[in-house]
Point group: C2
Chain length 320, copies 2
């Protein structure tokens, strides 16, 4: 994993991924007590940064593997990112989802051209189903974060942040990143280290699911005690990845932990002041920037708003 | 009013207004039956395109007038655009608002540094108050649309659309524009005529408040029968402007009229598929693109999503 892979991924993504804007509001600056810059990655294709990693991985495949197709396990943003990337390359995509996933997510993934294979979470082994399908059809598995080409794709977001913030004259600041398995966080961290070394990536997690924060503090991979029950479901993973954790150790500052309520407040402020839609897991970095000013120094902070795929009911809760 | 004024305004706006992105979604393409491109002007500073016109007008003032300050009548987007533009230029701003305007709009305008003067709609004469203040303090009135430098500022949005759509390879399409007094519509129409003559501006209005559409059809300025009762309050004006109407006559295609319900549906789809927040009046152009495919021809349509300053209660209604 290195910066050249990220630059190569960014070249493959050029003209396909959206160069998402940096948004600001004087009202947010007042809350945070410093200038706040928001990288609006919710405006990426499929509503989250996951399209970058999906496209990077699919576009890196040899022609023969592309023709056979790809497979992914996901009920959420990774599924849609891989599905759209595969369709754009004319490659078949199989997405394995739990049968109790929200109907709208299943329908969206199918509408993006993927074959959705459902399994029963209580009686069936997801990995066995995936292995069988992959072997029978010669499909390539695209893991959601612990996969070099996926990290490289997410890192393209970091190259953009480095270029955009340099153009804005901000060369020293913390970059809050919503962190699940660490694919985006480690990709951004590598990109910043190369192109804007005064900007430092900081993983942000929801309370109770702070595996990356605890792992960075202890120096070894720590697991979450539970994997469900968070409003920020999109960024809950068992533990940091074997590839992503060493990168985060080398290049990231300490993690920041926010409450579900702070994530909801950040969603409401993004609605009101930036006119963007965030999901809870996509709002934790903004929550850290706004409500944990003590966690960083300097006169500016950057927050990556990673995704906006939220059910209306949850969004209404944030606005209430 | 000419294209050189628009280019000069765009130069004054460079580095200050945001170059808002063009967003797309395969799901919207399916609904419209053609490719849909959305100019997300709700992501502009203060949440609407009005910042462009405000900045253009303020930045065109001679130093002495700037020092004395500006005045505007508005309870909405124009107020915030003028207030932020004035503050950025170090100029005092007085905004005249009805005393029954929503408290949050009054607070927002004050927070942007403006002096808000309230009047009683039933007993006081707004214009007399404005004239008295302007005369006493030497303030310059910035009208919301029938003012050359305001039209020039809004036209900068059209220059961006021309450049962005040309880069995307779309050189022939209708450009749906949410239309109140016609400042944005006429500015965009002038810009497109110069830089992308295959793109044609189309004013879009809510049912019952279709003065521009009827005026274009009859060839003379027609008035709305009433001025309240629309969900799309931000784009309700008595009639097209004396400056804006002849420009629309020369450069625009026929108007398109959408229902309030279609505006709400477009808001919900913008939430779901583009992850942007639109107000009803800022969503009518997208509603026309999605729900009135018969109104235009070709394989692409462009919609200008003009603003996102919406109360949570109205937004919840759209998502319900």
């Amino acid at each position: 994993m290195n910066i050249e892979m990220i630059r190569a991924a960014a070249e493959r993504l050029a003209g396909h991924a959206r160069r998402t804007p940096i948004l600001t509001s004087p009202f947010l600056d007042v809350i945070a007590g410093r200038r706040v810059f928001v990288k609006a990655e919710c405006l990426q294709h499929t509503g989250s940064f996951k399209f970058r990693g999906g496209w990077s991985a699919v576009s890196a495949l040899p022609a023969q593997a592309l023709q056979k197709g790809v497979i992914a396990f996901s009920s959420g943003n990774h599924a849609q990112g891989v599905a759209l990337a595969a369709r754009s390359h004319g490659a078949p995509a199989v997405i394995i989802m739990p049968a109790d996933a929200p109907a709208v997510k299943i329908a969206n993934t199918r509408a993006l051209g993927a074959e959705v294979v459902l399994y029963d979470r209580t009686t069936e082994d997801r990995d066995a189903i995936g292995d069988r399908l992959a072997a029978a059809r010669g499909l390539t598995l695209i893991k959601p974060y612990d996969e070099p080409q996926v990290i490289a794709g997410q890192g393209s977001c970091g190259l953009e942040i480095a270029a955009q913030m340099t153009a804005l004259g901000v060369t020293s600041a913390d970059v809050m990143v919503c962190c699940g398995g660490g694919g985006l966080t480690s990709g951004i961290a590598l990109a910043l280290a190369a192109d804007a070394p005064g900007l430092r990536a900081r993983p942000v997690e929801p309370e109770g699911f702070d595996d990356a924060t605890r792992s960075l503090a202890s120096g070894r991979i720590e697991r979450n005690a539970r994997l469900s029950g968070s409003l920020c479901d999109a960024i809950v993973t068992p533990q940091p990845g074997n590839l992503t954790f060493p990168i985060m150790q080398q290049h990231c500052g300490p993690g920041v932990v926010v409450s579900d309520d702070q994530a909801l407040q950040a969603m409401a402020l993004a609605f009101d002041r930036l006119k963007i839609v965030l999901e809870p897991g996509g709002a934790v970095a903004l929550a850290a920037a706004l409500f944990h000013p003590e966690a960083s120094e300097g006169d500016a902070v950057i927050a990556v708003a990673t995704g906006g795929n939220v059910d209306p009911a949850v969004f209404l809760k944030a606005l209430a």
